[in-house]
Symmetry: C2
Subunit: 256 residues, 2 copies
Amino acid sequence: MYEHMNKIPGMQQDSFIIDHSSVLPLHYQVEDLLRKLIEQPEYQNGKLLPNEVDLAKKLGISRNTVRQATNKLVYERLLVRKKGVGTKVASNNITTKLNKWSSFTHEMDEKGVKFKNYSLKISWEVADAELSKVFKIDKKTKILKLERVRGVASEPIVYFISYFHPRVGLTGDEDFSKPLYEMLENEHHTTAVISREGISAILADDELSEVLKVAVGDPILFRKRVVFDPGERLIEYNLGYYRADRFTYTIDIERG
Amino acid sequence: MYEHMNKIPGMQQDSFIIDHSSVLPLHYQVEDLLRKLIEQPEYQNGKLLPNEVDLAKKLGISRNTVRQATNKLVYERLLVRKKGVGTKVASNNITTKLNKWSSFTHEMDEKGVKFKNYSLKISWEVADAELSKVFKIDKKTKILKLERVRGVASEPIVYFISYFHPRVGLTGDEDFSKPLYEMLENEHHTTAVISREGISAILADDELSEVLKVAVGDPILFRKRVVFDPGERLIEYNLGYYRADRFTYTIDIERG
DNA sequence: TTTGTTCATATGTTCATACATACCAAATAT
DNA sequence: ATATTTGGTATGTATGAACATATGAACAAA
């Protein structure tokens, strides 16, 4: 019998890709695979993904599992499905084009691209009223405080203050120049899952003007952030002061 | 044979709830039902939802369909699942408690709670370079411009400028004092789905200080927003100027 | 008292299957 | 030439069944 078996463009081998014996759920493996796949320029340019039935056959799994994976990406707005047509990468060119009005975006912040640490200070601070309330711990407890100034080559852009919950078990001797959340994941079994943020605008005071090299009274984007683990336990409390002339915060929101 | 058939607390009748003949997908009906169900104080207080198998049996549908519905709510962080235990309402108390550091939140903005319109101005503006680029239309095209000042009883808080894509078909005679997106939905078949935002901090200039009743040089939270329909077509281009002393922007973010 | 073990229960994953519905384009009728 | 029908293809919805795995509680052993 002649099986057609189209090659899926941009995909490595015929199979070997999905590991049925892995502990990782199949849908998760597919999701991963798709993420890599759709990075390819052809898909970025609007080419339809291989259809679900073919893909399932190709990977040796059921269509439901393929759907489970694509569903996630659709929910994340990475993919767009169209009934009777197919699935393709969402046109996110809008984002990049519209973001021209700012030179710095949230993504860069998250991935730490191009950013370097200007200064790093680690200290232990005794919890005051605010910290004890945020972390729900006694007022006298010592909390690890991490201060960072980060920016691009020529200038500082953001001033971070991080407080870490004692539960995480940081000693202060860790290498904080490495990506923070990776470090927490690998060395402290702490996974950062959600972060809740509040953003406001303030004016630079003496300290901020000194740290960020701006004039007193310059506008500063102020962000408070609380990071949780999957069990919704607080991991980190983070204050961020961004130079408003160099930084814009970009967000996608869904409307019910 | 004795069937146990537990009553599901807080639920109306035994059935009649799920309408198999409805055009609405079952999973959607279940989702709706769950949304209403978990509003009940008992579930808000941490009571476990009825388990999936029971619920499926109770509603006369398959477990998969129940899961499809709950999945959505889990993704929205309304529900938390725990293997071997059950599903319950996510403890969102964290949000509300932590938000005390600001008096105004994003939610209030979205729902328009307590806000009233101070002034309203409708005009037609000829697209300049920026607008023609954003809307991808000719430079000479006329675009409906809506200016609003909104706030609470005693003071203005935010100054909005909205531009609407000609495709939407607004005439300028609409009642813009009604909730905007409802109006678009009902009267212009235009559903607002996602909005992409950029947030920055600026200083109040003469115009803003006049409109928002603040001093020149006061910090202003500046937001650009583009609103799309489900087909990712641009509906609205919106500029928002928020008094930073009265407004904080609150966001939940997921970390991959 | 503490530490294993077992067991019931609930969610987590996956499959095979079926039918519904939207879209597009080619064939056909007007 | 221009509607209209129709078939092919794709996603959308829904079922039922099975097995995997995490949790917590009851129970038993150290």
